[in-house]
């Protein structure tokens, strides 16, 4: 006599109505996710949805910041007098040095104004800056971002340069109603047009992702580049105001087997440690291209 053993059915009986099967639902939501990712990566048209959800979630974000702020407040309360005094002295000496530098810059500024007037070029307006507090560092391990506070009356513009006391930090990439997202110069493939302070040679600095120094790419082996050179923004893109300090060259490796050198640069700004930052207004638009040249360029493009 044999006992037939039937396995339990995988799906519950039909009279328990449970909607579409799990596989169907996973496929449905999976396809939506993939579509969203594709649209977000290629077209960037989901910003309004993102901003809407971010605004709704913002109060929860504020709640999460409370424990950290309490801790900070407590440690500040217990800061010793000595520490505060030494910090004060340090700040005073820094102010003296900065004042001296500013005084010596006056002469140079006057001279450059005279020269630009001689050349007939319009003098770039003084860039305006808005101060902002860093709320928290981005938690996404794949990208390099920080989030800064935005006051209700502050008029942030996506694309503006963000600096701290010692140099360029990055660029505003998303502006939400109450906070703004800054992409750091260390983000992978984030490009900043720079020039070397010593020689004025123009180059482009590329970020390489978390934990790695940005590098100057496509610089030939015979270029005049030394370790310790300071890089300034060149304003060739019209995005960053000119002459902001960006990075310092820490390593130059000239390979015999390659055309280009490998040049690593350390950011001068406290990219991950700044507590407050300045958001600079975008520089005034560059003068438009002359009509003849633009037409010629158009022709060239069409021919290609």
């Amino acid at each position: 006599m044999s006992i037939s053993v039937t396995s339990l059915p995988k799906e519950p009986p039909r009279f328990f109505r449970r909607g579409p099967s799990a596989v169907a639902r996973l496929t449905f939501f999976g396809l939506i996710s993939i579509a969203l990712m594709f649209i977000d990566a290629r077209f960037r048209t989901l910003e309004t949805i993102r901003m809407g959800i971010a605004t709704v979630v913002h109060p929860l974000q504020q709640v999460a910041l409370v424990p950290g702020e309490l801790l900070d407040g407590a440690s500040e309360f217990f800061d010793s007098r000595d520490k505060l005094r030494s910090e004060n002295e340090q700040l005073k000496s820094q102010l003296l040095i900065a004042g001296q530098a500013a005084q010596s810059a006056v002469g140079a500024t006057n001279e450059s104004a005279r020269l630009t007037a001689l050349l007939g070029a319009s003098q770039a307006a003084q860039t305006k800056a808005q101060i902002s507090k860093v709320l928290y560092l981005g938690r996404d391990p794949f990208s390099q971002k920080i989030f800064i506070q935005r006051g209700t009356e502050q008029n942030f513009d996506a694309g503006s340069a963000v600096i701290d006391g010692s140099g360029l930090i990055g660029q505003l990439t998303r502006v939400h109603p109450l906070l703004a997202e800054v992409t750091l110069i260390t983000e992978k493939d984030f490009a900043v047009p720079v020039k070397i302070e010593r020689t004025g040679a123009r180059m482009v600095l590329f970020g390489r992702g978390p934990g790695q120094f940005p590098e100057l790419r496509f610089v030939t082996n015979n270029a005049d580049v030394l370790e310790g050179d300071v890089l300034l923004t060149s304003n060739i893109d019209g995005v960053y105001p000119g002459n902001l300090r960006v990075a310092k060259i820490v390593r130059v490796a000239r390979g015999a087997d390659t055309v280009f050198s490998k040049i690593e640069c350390a950011p001068l700004a406290g990219v991950n440690s700044a507590e407050s930052v300045l958001v600079l207004d975008r520089p005034t638009a560059l003068t438009p291209r002359p009509a003849a040249e633009a037409a010629a360029a158009g022709d060239a493009k069409r021919r290609r």
Partner: protein, 178 residues
């Protein structure tokens, strides 16, 4: 055999035990608290070691209450995570939807094991979800992050036994706790 200490901290009902149904408000509350816990402004090693509270609590309810917390809810939670982390829109949504699916697929089986063996199941599921995120980001051109990224799955799993006991606390019948 290895056993957890016999304390109420690690005691949960077995599959055949009868416990009270959870209150829907409690489920929502725990999810919100876990979401806020994920939003803590951490960086460096603290961030690398931070368990993914939201994923663990989500997985707990998806395993214990699959009728309430399923693939759709998990997907929505993932979408919220994507917005606050400011990364690719939809990556956590897909990863959490997969978590929801595997919870639905495994929930009858997982609950038959003692807590530490449940943890091993959970470890597998969480690493699979993280693997999905890593593959998606690499495909979209991000740099490969350091391997410390996977540490958060391990700490999340360490959280599983005490969290299970804690979340089941309000559902205990008196005879079980006595």
């Amino acid at each position: 055999m290895f056993r957890f200490p016999d304390s109420p901290l690690f005691k949960v009902a077995r599959a055949e035990d009868i416990i009270l149904p959870p209150s829907p408000w409690f489920v929502v509350l725990t999810l919100v608290v876990a979401f806020i816990a994920n939003l803590m402004p951490l960086s460096g090693w603290a961030l690398a070691l931070r368990p993914d509270f939201f994923a663990v609590v989500l997985l707990y309810w998806a395993i214990h209450q699959p009728r309430w917390i399923g693939i759709g809810v998990a997907w929505l939670c993932g979408l919220l995570t994507d917005v606050v982390e400011a990364n690719l829109f939809g990556q956590h949504a897909l990863a959490y939807a997969i978590l929801g699916f595997s919870a639905e697929y495994f929930h009858r089986r997982v609950l038959r094991f003692p807590l530490w063996q449940q943890s091993l199941h959970v470890l597998g599921l969480l690493i699979a979800a993280q693997g999905v995120v890593i593959v998606l980001r690499l495909m979209s051109g991000a740099a490969l992050p350091s391997a410390t990224l996977l540490l958060s799955s391990v700490t999340s799993v360490l959280l599983w036994p005490p969290l299970s006991a804690l979340l089941q606390w309000p559902q205990r019948v008196r005879s079980l706790t006595d």
